[in-house]
Subunit: 155 residues, 2 copies
Amino acid sequence: MSKTLLYTWRMNEQNHIKIFTERDIGEQLRELGITPTQQRVQIAEILFARPQHLSADQILAVVNSNGPIASKATIYNTLGLFARKGLVREVIVDPNKVFYDSNTSEHHHFYNLDTGDLTDIVAQDVMITSLPELPGNTQPAGIDIIFRIRENDSE
Amino acid sequence: MSKTLLYTWRMNEQNHIKIFTERDIGEQLRELGITPTQQRVQIAEILFARPQHLSADQILAVVNSNGPIASKATIYNTLGLFARKGLVREVIVDPNKVFYDSNTSEHHHFYNLDTGDLTDIVAQDVMITSLPELPGNTQPAGIDIIFRIRENDSE
DNA sequence: CAGAGTTTTAGACAAAGTCTATTTGTCCAC
DNA sequence: GTGGACAAATAGACTTTGTCTAAAACTCTG
Ligand SMILES: [Mn+2]
Ligand SMILES: [Mn+2]
Ligand SMILES: [Zn+2]
Ligand SMILES: [Zn+2]
């Protein structure tokens, strides 16, 4: 009944990069070919403090909470750069904003439509045993599984 | 190894509504408690001509291609109404726009990052055999599975 | 066919994100 | 260290998608 798996969607092998300790964020960025400017280091510190999902707006607010450090353009440039380098994952679940996920290990999401909460599901808790055939001349680039949930109408 | 399924994500039982034939779109809308205005009927005719994924902008362009019939506000109002009534499904795969899917049967999507093509995958071609436990006090509202793909770099 | 409620509309507005031209910072050679 | 080439950051204009508002146009029922 279950199809043969013609390809795998396990993409993120870069996850080893992310055990940033306070001191060597700069070095780690440099190893990825990213010049560690003040702005990039600050954004990285916020983002990689723990696995979390932040919007560009939230990062802008946090990074500038004690005086101006980075402009909006720099936030977007940096998040785009980090995404291309595999340091963060863009999560598209809300039509209004992109979330930047500091957890790049293979995982999925619950998205609470009532609260806006986005929470991780470890990959092992979701098992796909049958995969569709890829359209001609294409290759896998990633899989997103989003379990949309709602609060119980506790009446 | 596979968990017991504590709940089901099979949500869309409304799919019987959608065999719209040219003539009785109005009646069918009325049965759903939707007053069949000229604008709503035109939008429905476009959307339900076949299973497809259209953005609000595309629908606006098509509906007004031979003279002005509906305003931008009406397009958004109508799509929102149709979504609430279960006539269309909102598909969130692109950070720039929502797609309105006239296919409300249970299915998933390929999203081609290079071309922007969004194509359907019948539910039976993707089999999930293990489900995560729901966060406390929440209920399932829908599942989205998106296989992001890219064109083969045919060198 | 009146009038109450519903729907549509133009255009103002908002939010997220991009772009541009200029300034500032970084890096390396000397 | 200093000059200069290149990279990065910045303010703010701009774009796109979508929402809101208040007035006008419809629809439906009595
Ligand atoms: Mn939006
Ligand atoms: Mn956008
Ligand atoms: Zn996550
Ligand atoms: Zn679809």
